[in-house]
């Protein structure tokens, strides 16, 4: 009997189904006939996914009980020996199958028509864009959601238009409410900390809300007096309201309790007293080598993990204003390295602040003595571009906020910050700051500037130059900066040490050597490990790890690591805490090499299986910390025992 009811529904709604099919045929023909009109096709695709499927679902379902009402058949149908829940389900599943049949046709043609394939990879589109955009998986769910809500409401009234309208108001209204909740102050935290959880929370809410409507509808259908409209409506409300509250409550519970990725990103901040600090979107963490545990110093769900600076026992960091709905960072905070004395510097509280509303932080750098913070600011749309430069400086206690005049050559003719300007290092004694400028076109070229805080002027220090490492280019005592530069454009990059007091440079490499990748200082600041590429006549060249000693004034050891460029890209050196050994993160072999001072290999240690993309390497006491870029987790290796432990 289920089949009879199911097929009856198909027969009744066949016209709507074929109407939908016709629209899809037109859509596919448009792709075949006008493959060159990409904008039109993209618009059509979005129209089909965003409008066609949900509205078709609404049209199908809002008339779900139309014939029973119109022909007065409901009483006849109820007198048949079939459970009312089966009646409801048979009709619902029949309509759902029509919708899904159209979806399958859409996806099947999508996967075989080359013109359509340009937009996405066949049926994988269901999963491929799930996290990135929630689309078109979202569209499929939304159309099923619309179908369920409209069908659930259809038991209440005979007029299809009224049901369609009510479904739009209630269905889309509740969807919008959940979406707004996720974008509100509370929900936005979730969006930042676990975007996948936020997206799935939204999808879960759709499923639960739809189920709430369906449950209220079935109970009304099964238990209420269909001949009395008021009673029936009250029954629906009596069931529906608690179910809806339950659905929203479960959504909130799911968002809070669902296991999601613990971290979105992990970014090494700095080391103090031998203990490394890490920053994630959840706040700032300190690893204690002696206690072998991570301490959560600052709990904030809005930390900008890319925007932080630490020196002299102080940490400055940026915080997103998640309510702004943009990616701007509007708050600057500072605290001591033990997590105490935390305070917000910008925007400053009270009147008289010269920090314009809507300014966001683009980069910041705390001075070696921890007294000043240099800021690169970026205007959001709310701030009128004007005379102010993006260079600011503020004392670490929040006083003395000053807007510094910028050099148009560095910052642009209208003194607006160019996209690729960043702060590199403080010049010793706090007299100035090194600023790097990157020009993406025609090729990546760099300039290194020094900004004199006393004269408030910028001076070009080196052309075609940048720091040699993104993570720790400055020597531990802040005396030198490892840089790489080209003496002449197009010539090999040279590794050099920039004296941060005199601003003089000392070349470390030369001749046919090419600096290959980042440098790593030992804890004393006397030895610098780096990777170079040596040309080989007729060969691909060899990639070597070398150690330069400032005391000796020369490269004291060298070891060829690989001849493959792809493998060389995956090497990363770091010194042990006592400076006695050099560690090399070998991502190709997914292992860590422990090298003696003469760079002979002492042993190799394999990474544990869950570590898939080791991305960073820090040492603390006898421990090594490795960031896994794939899972955003932090792993600790005990060099004495060789044991691994996931610590974050």
């Amino acid at each position: 009997m289920f089949g009879a009811l199911f097929l009856k529904e198909w027969r009744e709604k066949a016209l709507v189904f074929f109407f939908g099919l016709g629209i899809l045929v037109i859509f596919f023909l448009a792709h075949l006939l006008f493959p060159e009109k990409k904008d039109l096709l993209e618009w059509l695709t979005y129209a089909v996914l965003l409008l066609f499927f949900p509205f078709l679902a609404l049209i199908l379902a809002s008339g779900g009980f139309e014939t029973e009402y119109r022909d007065g058949v409901w009483a006849y149908l109820f007198s048949r020996p079939v459970k009312k829940a089966v009646l409801w389900l048979a009709k619902y599943l029949s309509l759902l199958s029509m919708l899904l049949a159209l979806w399958l046709i859409f996806l099947a043609v999508w996967s075989v028509v080359p013109a359509l394939n340009e937009f996405a990879g066949g049926t994988r589109i269901l999963l491929g864009f799930r996290i990135e955009t929630g689309f078109p998986f979202w569209s499929l769910l939304q159309s099923v959601f619309c179908l369920t809500v409209a069908f659930s409401l259809a038991v209440l009234h005979e007029k299809q238009f009224n049901i369609l309208f009510l479904s739009l108001i209630l269905g889309l209204g509740l969807t919008a409410a959940v979406w707004l909740a996720l974008n509100s102050g509370l929900g936005a935290h979730l969006a930042w900390t676990a975007p996948a959880t936020a997206v799935t929370a939204f999808l879960v809410s759709q499923v639960l809300i739809a189920l709430a409507f369906a449950a209220a509808s079935i109970l009304t259908f099964v238990r209420s007096d269909f001949s009395q409209v008021r009673k029936k409506t009250l029954s629906f409300v009596r069931w529906g309201v608690p179910f809806l509250f339950g659905a929203l409550g479960l959504t909130a519970a799911w968002a809070i309790l669902a296991p999601g990725p613990a971290e979105r990103y992990i970014s090494f901040l700095y080391s103090s007293g031998g203990d490394p600090y890490y920053m994630t979107q959840r706040g700032i963490f300190k690893y204690s080598a002696t206690a072998d545990r991570v301490r959560w110093l600052v709990k904030t769900n809005r930390a900008n993990y890319f925007l932080s600076s630490a020196a002299a026992g102080k940490i400055a960091y940026g915080v997103f204003d998640v309510r702004s709905k943009t990616d701007v960072t509007e708050e600057l905070w500072v605290m001591s390295a033990d997590g105490k004395d935390r305070r917000r510097l910008l925007p400053a509280a009270g009147k008289g602040s010269t920090w314009p509303a809507g300014m966001s932080l683009a980069d910041l750098l705390i001075s070696p003595d921890g007294t000043k913070i240099m800021i690169l600011a970026q205007r959001s749309a709310k701030v009128t571009p004007g005379e102010r430069s993006p260079l600011w400086v503020v004392n670490a206690d929040g006083t003395g906020l000053e807007n510094l005049p910028g050099d148009p050559a560095l910052l642009g003719a209208k003194i607006e910050m160019r996209a690729y300007v960043y702060l590199v290092a403080w010049v010793q004694a706090g007299g100035g700051v090194l600023i790097a400028q990157r020009f993406p076109a025609p090729a990546n070229t760099y300039r290194l500037w020094v900004y004199d805080l006393k004269n408030q002027t910028a001076r070009l220090l080196l052309d075609n130059a940048l720091q040699a490492s993104w993570f720790s280019p400055v020597s531990p005592r802040g005396e030198r900066l490892a840089i790489k530069y080209q003496k002449t454009a197009g010539k090999p990059w040279v590794l050099a040490l920039l004296d941060l007091k005199t601003l003089g440079t000392t070349d470390i490499t030369g001749g046919d050597e090419r600096v290959w990748s980042g440098a790593s200082w030992d804890k004393t600041g006397d030895q610098l490990a780096y990777l170079i590429r040596r040309a080989q006549p007729g060969g691909p060249g060899a990639y070597a790890l070398a150690v330069y000693s400032l005391t000796a004034g020369k490269t004291v050891s060298e070891r060829t690591m690989t001849t493959k460029e792809s493998d060389a890209l995956l090497l990363w050196p770091a010194w042990t805490a006592d400076g006695a050994k050099l560690l090399v993160l070998d991502r190709t072999g997914n292992r860590l090499k422990v090298l003696r001072p003469d760079l002979s290999e002492e042993k190799t240690i394999a990474f544990p299986a869950p570590v898939r993309l080791p991305a960073g390497l820090q040492t603390a006491g006898d421990h090594v910390l490795i960031e896994d870029g794939e899972t955003d987790t932090l792993w600790r290796l005990d060099l004495r025992t060789g044991s691994w432990k996931k610590i974050l």
Partner: protein
């Protein structure tokens, strides 16, 4: 005769209007019950409650000694129901409706369905929307009979029938069913129709039965036509 259906203290309101109140009835199998009542007295309501179309507000119904609730459906396989206004899916054909119904009833009698279509001059290919009210009533009757019910509820089914069919229906079909042991509850306000077929007379008034007696005894006591008996008992309340 065994008791087929027992109705106890049944009540039903529509808003503030009380239609059934403390309604009691015991239906024995194999008998023909005639339920008389004025318009709006609750005959259709009673039929709909028995068929699980609408819920009762109070009381209970037992079928073969087992309590049936509003959500139950299995007992309906043994019930036949011809409503006063038989509404069907208008776009279905006569044959389509029979096939649709055939899947609900395990004892569906296809031969009976075919012969009744012929008897009632119903074209299997006709769309239901093209049928007159009388033809729809015949179709409803054909569906109900093809299900081979033990208990047949007829809710004023003859009011739209032409005279020959009504005669045929009352004289032949009802008698034939009664002879085969089918229990029949014939609700109507057209008193004279019952006279020829009824075995036990039920008169519904004010939400409850004011007469529940063998028709022969009632007739003997009142010594008047059924129409006059009806008017008499209803006027007394």
């Amino acid at each position: 005769m065994s008791e087929l259906v027992r109705i106890q203290h049944l009540s039903k309101n529509f808003g503030r209007k009380r239609v059934l109140e403390g309604f009691d009835l015991a239906v024995e199998s194999g008998r023909v019950y005639g339920l008389l009542g004025r318009n709006g007295e609750g005959k259709t309501t009673l039929a709909r409650i028995l068929m699980g179309v609408i819920p009762a507000d109070g009381g209970e119904v037992l079928y073969k000694g087992r309590r049936i609730s509003f959500g139950d459906s299995a007992y309906k396989r043994e019930f036949g129901y011809v409503p006063e206004d038989p509404f069907f899916y208008e776009d279905m054909t006569v044959r389509g409706l029979l096939e649709f119904n055939a899947r609900f009833y395990p004892r569906w009698d296809r031969k009976r369905a075919a012969s009744d279509l012929e008897r009632f001059a119903l074209d299997p290919k006709s769309r239901i929307r093209t049928l007159s009210r009388g033809m729809k009533l015949k179709l409803g009757l054909a569906v109900a009979l093809a299900a081979a019910p033990e208990f047949l509820i007829l809710d004023d089914p003859t009011s739209g029938l032409d005279v020959p069919t009504r005669q045929d229906f009352l004289r032949d079909i009802i008698r034939e069913l009664a002879a085969s042991g089918t229990t029949i509850l014939f609700a109507t306000h057209m008193v004279h129709e019952l006279e020829r077929i009824v075995e036990r007379l039920l008169v519904l008034h004010g939400g409850r039965l004011i007469v529940d007696e063998d028709f022969e005894k009632v007739k003997a006591r009142y010594q008047m036509s059924l129409e006059d008996i009806f008017v008499s008992v209803v006027s007394k309340g």
